[in-house]
Symmetry: C2
Subunit: 678 residues, 2 copies
């Protein structure tokens, strides 16, 4: 390169350098380390290297670009435009040659490592860099006088044209290689799997000639209650379908420990549950493929996360050891295995990657939350609470990360609540109670109106008002507390004490009627004292877990709180604080991350380096076992109290010291227990 | 270590050094790099570290060993002796501690890398170092406060106790790990597969507590006609069973090209042949396991070799491309795949290793011959001929190796010969003809007597005299030539010309009667002129291939000749020379290597490094394609002549120049042809 060579500046990267006149834009990008995609290797077939040249004066760069800075539009481009279309002003980077100083813009969709859009600004970015890529190659024909295998010449082509190491080739690919090469006239597209720059490569699939996809992957979060998945296009990074379904294992037990008990008490019970969850996952994948309009065989990669019990059951590992101390995992590390080994009907070469587990009660789902929320990159001390049947709690920042799980039980999901139900149309999800009149108003899922708005009855006529879901219960009890209907100990007052006829006798205690649908043939939806107690238990477990981590970290407060999990997405931070579910924190510092575990799985699907990264981070997470920490018990007992109505943002550290727990000691000790080894 | 520390000398290695008093013999061996086996890692369980201490005066070493140089016989040894027995004078190396200067002998069976005995002195030694080994480990129990997976603790134990890298663990092992660890009380034996010191490790199988085998492997040579296998103990290296069977593909065609034609002409034909050979191999393995008295699931490793067509068919690759120029292999490199992928019922984690192919006509069987006969280590220029339906020919030494294959056809195996049959009881295998009387005598397989010995008729009454096998035909024709019954052109004389009534008319030519069994209801066994012609064709093809390599090497003679193949084992070198099958060479320099391909497969089974070694050697072999070499045709035509009877060790280079080929030109040009692409 000399001073007379044209200067080329790429935007938005700003990379610049001189290349010999006549160099293609694609080649110039490669030499200057500019991220410009190509599947066909510069043969004018794939069009992934589209660029937009800029002309005129660029004072910032001290450069004027002449109209003939690039070679003229050529017939390859014309043919491509005629057949497939090309946006105005675009050129194919492999065809346009640099003749004079030039400024070239690389649009986002032409970047190999393009950034995948995420909805929340605070979350980590996803850079597309999947473990599987398509590579188009031209393979040398066999030579009688220099005999070598077709496979060896393909490997040479992949090395020379794509810089790949000698790949492993499964027998099913080798069996079809010779016919494919001849049918494609010695041109072939390979799907190559590679987990990292230093790792080996594997040819997962081959197609004669040029093939541009679809090439898909699925990320799933296998929860105790729900299995949720995204089908992603591994070429573009976009989510092409999202779906969820109930985990059919629920028939073996609502919560994790009852499923472990089922495995312990029934010969073959673990295998039954394994078959159930695998069947459901296979069905979900089928639904995702149908929604995306792709064949199941286009799915080449699967990433799954789940709590340790789900992790083990999906793998066909008996979860019995997770049922008693010391809660030993069969394996904690990340796993990478053929998807067919867990009975999934995908592409025959598809692999399943499972994120590492953190501990016997803190699973790969929590690891996925860490990957998504990245406390390891946070300057602030962040408390992340993934609320589900079990709560996983993570506390940390750049310096240090702690994790535990807390047995909240299923009350937060509406189970074991008298009028409770899962979040579905007809369920009460938002509640407000007027502190003066103590009259409630509410909203139900599937309707945007509040219950006191005109037209509400008509709008909900189809679904009815069927019950109350987790977030509705949280809000109802928090509002009841703020309205003085329930006291700090959790007792609901009588009609006389509260001055509202909505407080009705219920055995030896009272209940508060939110909605009486009986005149219209519907249910009576009331919050009973037992419901309040169930929520007290659950929130105390959650709170105690968080406090335990704060004790261990040596802090009294956290900088921010992230509520994760499908349920976390619907909790009102203000009500969570009022109820004392989470430690004291400015309400604006409490945010929701949605299904962060699912997002973490999607990150691991789309970015190979993220897998190694989360494995490294997980190894340095300090695990705290709540089951044997005496302080957990102390925090738990103290945290069953409900904060004062007079103080909507109380110091929970102070409240935790209040001794006024009203229900009797026997019940107070009735926290969800874990089984110990006999 | 100080000068006061005891000096220990190990024999036969001669390694010596000082170790602190109290060091176990096993530990001392490790420190001094002495090859002393141990599976249990020094826990007094496996007894593989048996040693024989020597006492008294050792002037050679300037040492006197006191009776109390080692710690006294202990109760672990006593328990082992009582239960399992221990030869007189032996100690367990892990129990006996060095207290003073000592001389310790390591018997061959206690060497980890013990040498496996081979029958022939000139062949390369086999050092036992298989890809799979047993390792006994003690695994740390789980700790509630430092959660980690059972698998991770096993990996740590394997690293600390055996220096192994973090192993891969298949799901089927992971699924059983937790129960096995608890049943074995945190002691476990692992079968670990590792292809080389720099390669990863895989846990193939686990057993609770201590497990000492059996741990077996099978080496097979898949020939066009015969499939032969050895079942070897991977712990001791010994052959526990050997067996062979017919390749059932014979029903699709006698020779390779007719099988390729079958695949070309019949849809699904290749798949049929694949199913046939896989089924036969599975049956052979079953027979081997039964003979050795082990379960099929004890077989963890399989090495297979075969010519390119067999190689491809076994793998389920359509061999069609091997049927026409440029004879492209699907893959030439070594392969390593799960044995279950080719439908074999072995241990579920068993793998199949296939040696590399050299070229489209020179397969993994030839590579195995090279591994066994090691021309790359030879100072002499050696010609190796593997005689089967096709002949593979290798010429080389340390500096350079050439290879080709030659289409000899099946005549050498008794096919296409009027009275020909496979080598089986009742077949004539040795022939002598008196040059004066022109009367023959012969021996048949299954009987040690010559046909003119008393008791021969009785001794062969059971089998009868049923035909003549390949080696018998070679000898018969060579003897006929030396007795003047057949002339240099290959014509059998009449009774008048030869003076023996054994020459009878046979159409327009004559035949020579070896044995007339018709009076007793048996067959007439005669050598016809067509038989002579078939053998002339076959031997000319073999000779021409060898000459072609010699031309390429620029030599007129070779230092020695090795005849390989099951047939090669039975050929008389003298007759082969007389017949002009092989280039001129002193008869004592012609040796037989038996089934060298099978031996090569066995070497690759028992020694991991040999696999990498042969892959390296194969890459530098220069391949010569006989099908397109004009000189092959010239050599072939010239070599159809039979040497002069008057000169039992003629110069074949001179004979090759003789023009007296008697049969007509049309037939003379009728050499086995290979199909070309249309």
């Amino acid at each position: 390169m000399s001073e007379r060579d044209p200067l080329v500046i790429f935007t938005p990267s700003g990379r610049r350098g001189r290349v010999p006149a006549g160099t293609s834009v694609l080649e110039a990008a490669r030499r200057l380390g500019v991220d410009l995609d190509s599947v066909c290797g510069g043969r004018g077939i794939c069009s992934r290297c589209q660029i937009t040249p800029a002309f005129g004066s660029f004072p910032k760069h001290g450069l004027t670009v002449a109209p003939d800075a690039l070679s003229p539009w050529n017939e390859v481009e014309e043919r491509y435009r005629a057949r497939r279309g090309l946006p105005q002003g675009r050129r194919l980077g492999c065809q346009a040659r640099i003749l004079a100083d030039a400024v070239i813009d690389v649009p986002p969709e032409s970047q190999l490592h393009r950034q995948v859009v995420r909805k929340r600004a605070e979350a980590r970015e996803i850079v597309l860099d999947p473990v599987i890529r398509l590579h188009f190659v031209e393979v040398a024909e066999p030579d009688l006088h220099h005999p070598s295998g077709d496979m060896e010449r393909l490997a040479e082509a992949l090395a020379a044209q794509w810089g790949l190491p000698r790949p492993r080739v499964p027998l099913r690919v080798l069996q079809r290689l010779q016919a494919a090469l001849r049918r494609g006239e010695w041109k072939l597209t390979c799907a190559v799997r590679r987990t990292g720059p230093g790792d080996g490569a594997e040819i997962v699939e081959i197609w004669p000639g040029f093939h541009e996809g679809p090439l898909c992957g699925v990320a799933v979060d296998v929860g105790s209650t729900t299995i949720a998945g995204h089908l992603c296009d591994l070429v573009t990074g976009e989510v092409r379908a999202s779906s969820g379904m109930m985990n059919p294992q629920i028939r073996f037990g609502e919560d994790l420990m009852s499923r472990v008990s089922y495995a312990m008490q029934n010969p073959g019970g673990a295998a039954e549950m394994t078959a159930a969850v695998r069947g459901a996952l296979d069905g979900l994948i089928g639904a995702l493929a149908a929604e995306a309009g792709v064949d199941r065989s286009a799915i080449l990669e699967l990433v799954a996360v789940g709590n340790p019990v789900m992790h083990h059951l999906l793998l066909g590992i008996d979860p019995v050891e997770l049922g008693w101390a010391p809660f030993a995992l069969a394996t904690a590390g990340p796993l990478d295995l053929p998807a067919v080994e867990i009975g999934l009907d995908l592409h025959p070469g598809a692999r399943l990657h499972m994120l590492p587990c953190i501990a016997g009660h803190v699973g790969a789902d929590a690891a996925a939350v860490v990957l998504s929320e990245a406390p390891d990159r946070s300057e602030d001390l962040v408390l992340i609470v993934d609320v589900g049947t079990n709560a996983e709690i993570i506390l940390g920042n750049r310096q240090r990360i702690l994790a535990c799980s807390s047995p909240t039980g299923p009350a937060f999901e509406g189970a074991q609540i008298s009028a409770g139900q899962r979040a579905a149309p007809g369920a009460i999800e938002r509640v407000e109670i007027d502190p003066q009149t103590r009259e409630p108003r509410f909203r139900v899922i599937g309707c945007d109106l509040w219950s006191d708005a005109p037209g509400f009855a008509e709008a909900t006529a189809r679904t009815g008002i069927t019950g109350i879901c987790g977030s509705g219960i949280i809000e109802a009890i928090a509002e009841m507390r703020m309205a003085g209907i329930v006291d700090a100990s959790g007792l609901i007052g009588s009609a006389e004490q509260t001055g509202t006829a909505r407080c009705i006798p219920d055995g030896r205690t009272h209940a508060y009627v939110l909605h009486d649908g009986r005149p219209a043939g519907g249910p009576l939806i009331a919050i009973t004292n037992a419901d309040v107690r169930a929520i007290q238990m659950a929130k105390a477990a959650l709170y105690a877990g968080a406090r335990l981590l704060m004790d261990r970290m040596g802090v009294d407060r956290v900088d921010r709180i992230v509520l994760a999990g499908a349920f976390g997405a619907h909790i009102s931070p203000r009500h969570a604080l009022v109820l004392g579910m989470i430690p004291d924190c400015p309400v604006e510092k409490v945010t929701s991350a949605g299904n962060a575990a699912g997002t973490g799985a999607r990150i691991a699907l789309l970015n190979a380096a993220a897998r190694a990264e989360i494995a490294r981070v997980v190894r340095r997470i300090e695990k705290v076992e709540t089951a044997v920490e005496p302080r957990f018990q102390e925090h738990f007992v103290a945290a069953t109290a409900l904060p004062h109505a007079s103080d909507p943002f109380p110091s929970l550290a102070a409240i935790a010291r209040l001794p006024d727990i009203a229900f009797n000691a026997g019940e107070g000790g009735d926290r969800p227990r874990r089984r110990r080894r006999a």
